[in-house]
Amino acid sequence: MNGATVRITLNGRPFEVEEGCSVAAAVARLGVPFRHSVRGEPRMPLCGMGVCFECRVCIDGVAGQRACMVPVRAGMQVTTDG
């Protein structure tokens, strides 16, 4: 680990996050659900490897992306559904 960070925007707020971490790991710092289920339950990632789709968020305007599959990039804008 080299301690480098990148600046991204999570739900409109700027954050410094570890370079190389996934969007899922970055969003986890917010302490809010990634999405809400059909019945309105809060949900967070389950499989960590792109199978369960529970971690889907909107990245740079593209909805439904699996946060565990995408490494953070400087300037990235991420929004959760809740």
Partner: protein
């Protein structure tokens, strides 16, 4: 225009990397694709804070050495003839092949139980993967549960990332584990690995014959705060922040199903049927590693090498075949030891959600004879994951056998689908 390769390898885990290396050594034009942004598969998943083992680093380097074309973040969407339609991070493309190696690996078997949808409940392998991706775990109290050797590996990774591992709860009974340990001398490498993991987990209770019956929320109901376990000592409640629970692994079969490869039963699931040289039922299509049945990293490496040689019409050394058989024998021993006991399949009650995407409970599925009927009536398996989680869980619970796959294999961009018309 479709790009054409002598050998196309789907999956950049140990099996795929070994296949690519073996094929490239024969002078073949090779491409390797993987849905993940980095090579290594799950077992050699890149850890953002800790350096990889030298073996993993070496294998990944060798498997992607030029002139091998490496396509990260690339998923197979559809297939036609001798070509695959893939979606890359920015585009779509047809890839044609003379030989194809299916090295799609495994996923975790996640089974429903009351509370498993609470934030804080994750897969055991899932928790490990997320930890390596930088998921914050420092000071979190974690219960690791489920079944199989992965629990030790997950526990060790979580601890390395600062988690307080309260216990490892293994559903297999102590007698089965003792029998397994007694036979480990046949695989000295595995024995060493098990000893190393135990050392890394010094002080963490390893509890046999123990299952998590329920995950419980805190007072405001929105996150996991405790689990209820059932062990030979009776029921107990453990306060914790995270539950990492997984019941072993099962082959990723989407691509094999899409192509129409013959399969064999792998417990309640399917695995690709291959011959001694990793040939599937389809001409010039090979499979290696976990897709052929859960066998672990050594088995995957050996099968990958065999597949890479076979795919380039190269003689496979007898020694390699023998080593593979020995590695497969270990896999069979693991399978026997960690065979799921009936209480695990009885954890979900009528109110437990089975389909997390569409919020379908087990009770809502009563009266449906097959998955198709259940899907049409309840939307079970119709959500974003396309039944990847609930389909496997229901098969394991003995409800519905799993059906095949139809393209697109995962939700794809419209531009990708439009590209499917242009297979030149």
């Amino acid at each position: 225009m479709a790009e054409r390769y002598d050998v196309l390898v789907a999956g950049a885990g140990p099996a795929g990397l070994a296949a690519a290396q073996a094929a490239a050594a024969q002078g073949a034009r090779v491409a390797v694709l993987d849905a993940q942004p980095r090579a290594g598969g799950q077992v050699w998943r890149h850890d953002i804070r800790h350096a990889p083992s030298s073996r993993a680093a070496r294998s990944i380097r060798a498997g992607l050495e030029r002139p091998i074309a490496w396509m990260p973040g690339t998923s197979v969407v559809a297939a036609e003839g001798d070509a695959l339609l893939v979606q890359t991070p920015n585009a779509a493309q047809w890839l044609r092949y003379r030989s194809l190696v299916i090295a799609t690996g495994a996923r975790e078997l996640l089974l429903p139980f009351p509370g498993w949808t609470l934030p804080g409940a994750v897969g055991a392998g899932g928790a490990q993967a997320l930890a390596k991706q930088g998921w914050p775990l420092a000071g979190k109290r974690v219960v690791v549960a489920g079944s199989g050797p992965l629990l030790l590996a997950a526990g060790a990774t979580l601890r390395k990332h600062g988690a307080i591992v309260l216990a490892i709860c293994e559903q297999a009974e102590a007698a089965a584990l003792r029998g397994f340990a007694a036979g480990l001398w046949r695989w000295p490498g595995k024995l060493l690995q098990a000893a190393q993991l135990r050392l890394q987990l010094a002080g963490v209770p390893y509890r046999a014959g123990t299952v998590v019956r329920r995950a419980l929320p805190g007072p405001n109901g929105d996150a996991l705060r405790a689990v209820e376990i059932e062990s030979p000592r009776g029921p107990e409640k453990l306060a914790c922040d995270r539950l990492a629970v997984g019941y072993g692994l099962l082959p990723n079969m989407e691509l094999a199903h899409l192509l129409g490869c013959a399969t064999r039963s792998h417990g309640a699931h399917a695995a690709v049927q291959v011959d001694a040289r990793q040939r599937t039922s389809l001409d010039r299509v090979y499979a290696a590693g976990e897709a052929c049945g859960i066998g672990g990293v050594d088995c995957a490496r050996l099968e990958g090498s065999i597949a890479g040689l076979a795919a380039t019409d190269t003689e496979v050394p007898v020694n390699l075949l023998r080593q593979r058989d020995h590695a497969r024998a270990f896999a069979a021993s693991v399978q026997r030891t960690f065979d799921l006991r009936p209480p695990v399949r009885a954890l979900a009650d009528a109110d437990t959600l089975v389909c997390r995407c569409e919020d379908v409970t087990l009770g809502m599925l009563a009266g449906h004879a097959d998955f198709r009927g259940a899907k049409l009536a309840t939307r079970c398996g119709m959500g974003a994951c396309q039944g990847r989680i609930c389909g496997a869980a229901l098969a394991e619970l003995g409800r519905f056998p799993q059906a095949g796959c139809r393209p697109p294999l995962f939700p794809a961009r419209l531009s990708t689908l439009a590209h499917s018309e242009s297979n030149a």
